[in-house]
């Protein structure tokens, strides 16, 4: 069905092929229907788009540049690398695109309390930011392990007036934070909107979150046509839940010559529990509202995951990615912790751009392929900036601290 893949829209039940759908306890079905209807109405309302566009431009800082990374490209001696600078957005990552859209929807529904989950803390910070802007009450669930890894973002959220609730269940990471947010939502549906931060969960979230991030791909496509007069040969993006990736991929889906390459967390090994590479190590299943690829054991219990990057450390992946994978329209590969950190060093030193650890995974794959593709054009989605990851970079690059110590 090539026509379906050209547009890649879900059916009325939110299915992308056999993926997606709506698998939640009955209590949540009517709030999901309410959200679906509110979003469908808003999409037809010019004033909704006008307000969102205004905020994206004047508050978040869109459009973001498509920057030609000449020094990195020269250094690699192959493909020309362009970087989509989502890291320059307000709050430091692409997440704000979706948060502004959903905050407008929450206001339309008359919901004054917002809850969210966060992994790396970027979505939590973006949520806390829009709640401050809209005067909404904000509670963010975050795994205890992620709070340790991302303590600067925890403080940023608190500074913005949000309540950050540590989640101590299971692996104490993103998956457990989502479960806890769903429990809160089940309990407080009448006055609360769940501002889900990735292209995950039950319908309409995967398609709605994607739509709010499509602006990344729409801009990038226009920009590359303007600069180079042609489409890129490949687009690279990291894939945790997959929101930045689906945002930049989606407007290129119909351009069959453009390779779409998603990069998952290869962690520190290929054994179950050592990585978050769902497409190479997982199989279809249902978790947290949606059917997609999952890391699971033979009993259908969800596996623990590992990644140096909290934002990619998740056992499932957005259902539209599962569909693009199955149709062969996008290719999914993985990058190890070590290669991601090395790529961050390379980008920092060739271009003066310190990437978020998540985005470093995408940079690493582009760096790997570029030398063998001399006449090609690559676009890498730099979904976030690296300030939040400085502690982890320090842990992984201890020789830099020693260097400083010797010269001091």
């Amino acid at each position: 069905m090539p026509s379906q893949i050209m547009t890649s829209q879900p059916d009325a039940g939110g299915h992308f092929g056999t993926y997606g759908g709506r698998y939640v306890p009955e209590v949540l079905m009517s709030p999901l229907e309410e959200l679906e209807h509110t979003y469908a109405e808003a999409k037809q309302d010019p004033s909704f788009h006008a307000e969102l566009d205004y905020l994206l431009k004047n508050y978040a800082g869109r459009p973001t540049p498509l920057y030609y990374a000449k020094h990195l490209s020269d250094h690699l001696g192959g493909a020309k690398l362009y970087i989509k600078r989502e890291d320059l957005l307000h709050t430091g990552a692409h997440k704000i695109n979706n948060c502004l859209g959903q905050a407008l929807l929450a206001r339309r529904m008359g919901k004054k309390r917002i809850i969210a989950e966060t992994g790396a803390g970027q979505h939590g910070v973006a949520t806390a930011t829009v709640c401050a802007l809209f005067g909404m009450d904000c509670t963010v669930y975050m795994g205890e392990e992620d709070m340790r890894r991302q303590r600067l973002n925890v403080f940023r959220m608190r500074l913005l007036g949000a309540k950050v609730v540590p989640v101590t269940n299971g692996s104490r990471t993103l998956k457990d934070a989502i479960s806890e947010a769903m429990r809160d939502w089940v309990t407080n549906v009448s006055d609360t909107h769940y501002l889900l931060g990735s292209a995950l969960g039950a319908h309409p979230y995967p398609a709605m979150v994607r739509d709010f991030h499509r602006v990344i791909g729409l801009e990038a496509r226009e920009q590359i046509l303007q600069i180079e007069g042609r489409l890129p040969d490949a687009v690279f993006a990291c894939v945790g839940g997959g929101s930045n990736a689906i945002g930049i991929f989606h407007p290129f889906i119909a351009d069959s010559t453009v390779k779409l390459i998603g990069i998952e967390a290869g962690g520190r090994g290929t054994q179950l529990g050592e990585h978050a590479a769902r497409f190479s190590g997982g199989s279809p299943g249902v978790l947290q509202g949606t059917r997609s690829y999952l890391l699971q054991d033979d009993d259908g219990q969800i596996a623990l995951t590992h990644s140096v990057s909290a934002g990619l450390d998740y056992a499932s992946v957005g259902p539209e990615h599962a569909w693009l994978h199955e149709r062969g329209r996008a290719e999914y590969v993985s990058c190890s912790d070590a290669n991601a950190v090395a790529a961050a060093v390379t980008l920092s030193r060739t271009e003066g751009i310190i990437p978020a650890l998540e985005s470093s995974h995408a940079v690493a794959e582009a760096i790997r392929l570029a030398p063998d593709r001399p006449n090609e054009i690559f676009i890498v989605n730099l979904s976030g900036r690296g300030d939040k990851d400085i502690d982890i970079y320090r842990e992984n690059l201890q020789e830099l601290d020693h260097e400083a110590g010797e010269t001091a």
């Binding site: 698998y23 209590v27 709030p31 299971g170 089940v186």
Partner: protein, 246 residues
Amino acid sequence: MIAYLTAGDPTPDATPGFVAALERGGADLIELGVPFSDPIADGPVIQQAGDRAIRAGTNLARVLAIAAEIRKTSEVPLLLFTYLNPALRYGFERLARDAKASGIDGCLLTDVSVEEAGDYVKAIRDAGLDTVFLAAPTSTEERLKLVAKYSSGFIYLVSRTGITGEQQTIADSAMPLVQRMRAHTNLPLAMGFGISTPQHVASLAGKVEAVVVGSAIVRQIEADSTKLEDFMRGLCTPILKKAAIF
């Protein structure tokens, strides 16, 4: 009176004895919870019971073996109560066949909405087992109609918006839901979520055909399983008539 317990908590071998105690204490139907790693509809008591059961090696196949063990000595109706993913992994048809052979009477998967239930309902019903669905205070009339259509055996009413766990009082949302559900079905109605004391049970007696107690039983097993039968008898005291379900 319907009693929920997490099968395999603290060990798979302990479950048949607990079920016998609950039955002696007055339980008319047992919900055997199959532990799942990410139970989004459950509060901390049942989550932790599930973690203990998984650590003790409990999986769906083991729960079916537990059911077969219970069946050797008891006719108490057994409802398999879990989430979709373990059932999906096991396979619906295989589950239906093996559950039937183990003496299971019906299934409830908390995260299967009626919209996504087609294949599952067909497989389970074809094996002659019942499919129970949840109805919630937030369900629209249209949804209650669908819940009635896909349910057999009985319908499980969720007393309030929220997760499983003990509460001080029965939510105000409980009674209107009973009335609304009756308009769409003649099936028996069971009410659960937050019901934990004889007073709660008394307030629902005569209004629904059965009440479900879960977290309070799981907590009693954790605290002192030797008093489980007495605890169950205490909960059942307010009920004059035994529930007739299945």
